[in-house]
């Protein structure tokens, strides 16, 4: 039986610089996740009691929004990756712009949902000083919030570029760079959600 040979790309998709950013972010968030996990180990009762004040449904909705946003971006990237020839490039960019516009909308939905959650938390008189659990909760979720904000701005710029039919099979670096950044934000939340909202 003949073996099928799968061609592997030598480098990850997107710009090299974004991967440096991604590695730095992974280390930074990784250390904060471990800081949370081992601080929890030192005072399980406090962390479990404080966690009851969080809105799990809000965290769940955030996860669905980010995962779906990631899916929408993949659809857009796949469209422009297969676009060859002037007419095809134009059509692919127009279709991709709709997927990207939807992902920008999902990014905005995440931000609005998170602001409502923060407003509820601050409304209960909770701040960074309240206790160690809320110090980690606010630090991690607000730091992540900043990343989603940046990711949404990047996606909006990609949307404008697709409107100008800027991407094609030969030119995918820009859209792939923005996409991998968004997927990073997604991966970070995928770990953050069970760690802070669910595990007891």
């Amino acid at each position: 039986m003949a073996k099928s040979v799968t061609f592997k790309e030598p480098y990850p998709p997107g710009d090299f610089a974004i991967w440096l950013v991604i590695y730095i972010e992974l280390v930074t968030f990784g250390l904060m996740f471990l800081g949370y996990a081992f601080s929890r180990h030192a005072d399980v009762a406090l962390f479990n009691k404080s966690q009851l004040l969080l809105n799990q449904t809000s965290g769940f909705i955030d996860t669905l929004i980010l995962i779906t946003g990631s899916y929408l971006i993949v659809k857009a990237v796949n469209l422009v990756k297969n676009a060859k020839g002037e007419q095809s490039v134009k059509e692919a960019n127009q279709k991709a712009s709709k997927w990207i516009a939807a992902s920008v909308l999902f990014g905005c939905l995440f931000l609005v949902n998170k602001l409502l959650e923060f407003s509820d938390i601050f409304g209960q008189g909770i701040s960074l000083d309240t206790n160690k659990f809320f110090m980690f909760y606010l630090l991690l979720t607000m730091f992540h919030f900043m990343h989603v904000t940046l990711g949404t701005i990047i996606l909006f710029n990609i949307f404008r570029r697709t409107k100008a039919s800027a991407y094609s099979a030969e030119n995918t670096r820009g859209i792939e760079t923005g996409a991998v950044y968004w997927h990073l934000v997604d991966v970070l939340w995928i770990v953050l959600f069970p760690l802070i909202y669910i595990i007891r």
Binding site: T6, K8, Y11, P12, A37, F38, H41, I67
Partner: protein, 82 residues
């Protein structure tokens, strides 16, 4: 496969619902935390492989986010079960 991305998205949604239900039903403790962390690893790896597109990238680059995921999730498990 043409529908791979859709299947991955559905699996991610299903595993997220699973995690949420564990939380809502107050089952996210003890042994189930191990199960939850394993599903978290699956979710992260699916995003890395199929959304980021690392599945078709040279192993040395593909392994970097995977190793991060393994180290972080294993450490969380160690801190929980210590």
């Amino acid at each position: 496969m043409k529908r791979t991305v859709e299947i991955v998205w559905i699996v991610l949604i299903a595993l997220t619902i699973f995690a949420y239900l564990l939380g809502k039903l107050h089952l996210a403790s003890g042994f189930m935390v191990g199960v939850l962390l394993f599903t978290t690893f699956i979710k992260g790896q699916l995003v890395i492989d199929y959304f980021m597109g690392m599945k078709n990238v040279s192993l040395k680059y593909r392994l970097i986010p995977t190793i991060w995921l393994v180290v972080v999730i294993s450490s969380i498990a160690v801190s929980y079960y210590l």
